[in-house]
Symmetry: C2
Subunit: 518 residues, 2 copies
């Protein structure tokens, strides 16, 4: 299995089909493959040897896709950099895996002096913006234009394809090593789970540096689809792209979907083409689903659950579970069923299978399980045991084989000796009509060890007092699970990939004190 | 990638789902996995070591599926034996790859004395029938019952999974070596090509020893589907199984499909559940498709083209090409587009790509390409060049990326120095309302080297003279392609997999004389 296979296929099957669309630029598959093979040669000329890491620090663009494929084509290993990180964090990840070449766009050129000062590894920078190439950098278009296309290095199977830094939410980032087989198996397994159209126009609205963006890229490429790219998520950007390019498929997190379907100009755009909305990072609540279904009547909604270490998909909640008869089956709060490539079990702390319906740690085995963490044998050994990736997520499986993710294990609140899964509390709070979003965390409590605390974002113009919240929750869930305190906020802290960053909510309460991880 | 993964998944996701249905016997996935793990232990007790080949000579049954998975679970390599072969041919294939253990059902027990006499390798036989175990054989149910379930040997990826003997139509059979990754990639790539339902009841009507039967098995297993098995194809057997078990998906060759939909009791059966008919070995003609569409209005028709050496699928003709708007696009005579896992090119005898629309040899690269022919380095080298499997099939690709298979290269007729592709002539002949089936071959001709000859099966009660045939063909195709002679036959010789055996038609004309292969 080789991730470059779709380019070879497209050259023979559909060379004139549009491969990338970005900001008015369009390239056919023949042009895309040619640019990829030239850029690969250019990167080789800059010193990239087989297996060498090459980074990119950039908003989404067609060049981001060219970078991904050019590094692989030239035999290198991609290291897509988290655009939300500080220069210090980026430097750590570059140095950790000895990334010497970095591509940077206009949005991040200003970081370069700091980055050069912080990083020991960084030697060569490529300017992937549209202005004149700054001094001391190589020009992207010159690299493409000045080099003849090289042959595909044909790395494959267990050859390393990418290092994806993750875990910035707790401790030092870890470099997740994914092979060609890992990422390609993921796309095939996810597509094989069914319900998908063969050839589509796909939209990259979520960040391409994130493994979800890479996953969508490989899934689209496996169908020789057209990649429409916007620099970063905005509801207008999504609506304009869908309407202008007839986008059939995209990936959003629920908060993004909400902003799209609630956008005041929504009805000015033609969104009939949108046949499939993949979403992840969180389940979709009924209110949002109702609204989204009315707004996008042609769209199938499909949830994907996974993590970087799983390349990334483990389970898929199919479209029918989002439709009236499926919703009656009550699977909407689940993360769906394991895809063909994922064997999934729920284990207790000793690694034994728990009973159906019992909460434990989610563990996954199969061809998408990462090779390990770069240069971190101990953490690799802790996560990978007998081929099983221990996800650190808590969940249970119902009798129909549907997975329910109840929490990150580290997000579980232990209050008065009882385990409280924040998702259950959040679902109760979300039923209040005043609430737009919420997050439940544990904060220090002298009596209980931790107490349940709710951070809440209200709808415009709404108000909520603690008494109302408390009464509402007690009507739905056990007393020990109900919030003992609350804070009202303008917004919740989200990662670039749209994941809620609970550690940021916890920080002010726990200070420098190390929180005990259960 | 490990072919046993679906069993592990089913044990956790759907242990009570029906795994196999055969002749009134039903086993859940929990029972099936238990029997597989016990049979694996039994085979180990009979001497099967990791990597050892184990054969089965049997009609289809639930035990055939248990055999396939038990050998893999126990770390062995399957060698499913062609049930149409003579004892001598079977012995050749057993001895070629040193197969010492053979499972045999009632239908083939009578062959055993001859087989034992012919084969040097064969040591241990297992009786997989339902009567009393004959002397000198081990009983299948005793092997299952007497052994505790063993742990999965977890062979995977490049580990050899099966040896499939092929090529009996010309020269000595060759053992095609397929790995766990080959067969699993094939299923994922074929499913990823879209249009398929996630969980189904599948019917094995075509022989399980054939790679097409194995391919369907892996595709169904990847979706944790129910396998309904009939001993061998009969139209009544298919109709009864579909109606009794609510079969959603099956694989047939067009001649089988024809017999099903033309069956006089067709309307007595409820076939509404049949949502997907996969077919292969030959394109479907419009007359049959019309008839089948009327008979099975809920069914999508999907053509698969491939060969054993490709695990086996290379291209897929999607359902829409079989529907009115797709048929207008004129792709019905094509074999479809390459699946995600298959990179396909058309090459000239020097291995260079030919122009779009030009006939050449079909070559395929990707994760489904076999590891080679067992113990045949020269033939392996001839077939596999730079990772490309040279199929020996002639075809061309149109501008939309659809493949048209015009002939086996060795079936091409060279008449008066012109290449005549028999498929083109056959398609012309099939337009005659009198004709039920036909095959075109080259036979010796003093002037032309070879001349075009048609073997024709007429519809019941129809008649046809050569003058009518000749006039009809000349109105459709060039003169040099038209048959110079014809024979009327009651039926055409077919292989167990439903493939036309042209060498049997050629035999009487070419006698012992070695036909020059172009």
């Amino acid at each position: 299995m080789y991730l470059t296979q779709p380019l070879h296929k497209a050259l023979r099957e559909c060379p004139t089909r549009t491969a990338t669309v970005f900001a008015g630029r369009r390239h056919t598959y023949a042009q895309f493959a040619d640019r990829v093979a030239r850029l690969a040669a250019g990167l080789r000329a800059l010193g990239m040897q087989p297996g060498d890491r090459v980074g990119m620090l950039s908003l989404n663009s067609d060049r981001y896709l060219e970078y991904l494929y050019a590094v692989l084509w030239g035999g290198g290993v991609i290291n897509p950099v988290n655009i939300r990180w500080s220069a210090q964090e980026v430097a750590y990840s570059l140095d950790d895996c000895d990334t010497r070449i970095l591509l940077v766009d206009d949005a991040f050129s200003a970081y370069l002096p700091d980055l050069r000062a912080e990083s020991r590894s960084l030697r060569t920078t490529v300017y992937a913006g549209d202005d004149e190439t700054p001094d001391g950098m190589h020009g992207y278009e010159a690299l493409v234009g000045d080099h003849a296309p090289m042959d595909d290095a044909m790395r494959h199977d267990d050859d390393l394809a990418g290092i994806f830094y993750t875990g910035g939410t707790t401790g030092l980032p870890k470099g997740v090593m994914l092979s060609h087989r890992n990422l390609y198996s993921d796309a095939l397994g996810t597509l094989a789970a069914g319900y998908r159209q063969p050839a589509v126009v796909g939209l990259h609205a979520a960040p391409l540096f994130h493994v979800g963006g890479i996953g969508l890229t490989v899934q689209l490429a496996a169908r020789l689809a057209t990649h429409v790219v916007i620099p970063q998520f905005t509801p207008e950007g999504v609506l304009e792209a869908v309407s202008a390019e007839g986008v059939g498929e995209t990936f959003l997190v629920p908060t993004m979907l909400k902003r799209v379907v609630e956008h005041r100009s929504f009805s000015d755009f033609d969104t009939d083409s949108l046949g499939c909305v993949l979403y992840g990072a969180a389940p979709i609540d009924s209110t949002l689903l109702d609204r989204a279904t009315r707004a996008l009547p042609n769209a199938d909604f499909i949830q994907l659950y996974g993590m970087t270490e799983l390349s990334p998909v483990a389970t898929l909640l199919p479209a029918w579970c989002h439709k009236p008869e499926g919703r009656k089956a009550g699977k909407l709060l689940s993360a769906g069923k394991p895809v063909s490539t994922a064997e999934l079990r729920i284990v207790d702390p000793e690694g034994r299978d728990v009973e159906t319906g019992t909460v434990g740690e989610i563990a996954v085995r199969g061809p998408t399980v990462m090779q390990g963490y770069w240069n971190k044998p101990e953490q690799t050994e802790a996560a990978l045991r007998d081929g099983w990736m221990h996800t650190g997520d808590a969940g249970y499986m119902d009798a129909d084989g549907f997975l329910y993710v109840v929490d990150r294990l580290k997000d579980m609140v232990i209050s008065g000796g009882e385990n409280v899964y924040s998702v259950e509390v959040e679902n109760a709070i979300l039923k209040l009509p005043q609430v737009s979003a919420c997050a439940v965390i544990g904060i220090p409590d002298e009596d209980l060890g931790e107490r349940v605390h709710a951070a809440i974002v209200l709808k415009e113009g709404a108000s909520l007092d603690f008494e109302t919240l408390s009464r509402h929750c007690r009507s739905l869930i056990a007393g020990y699970k109900c919030p003992r305190s609350m804070e009202l906020r303008d917004e919740l802290p989200l990662s670039a990939a749209g994941k809620l960053l609970k550690f940021k909510l916890r920080e002010p309460y726990w200070n420098a004190r190390e929180r005990q991880v259960s």
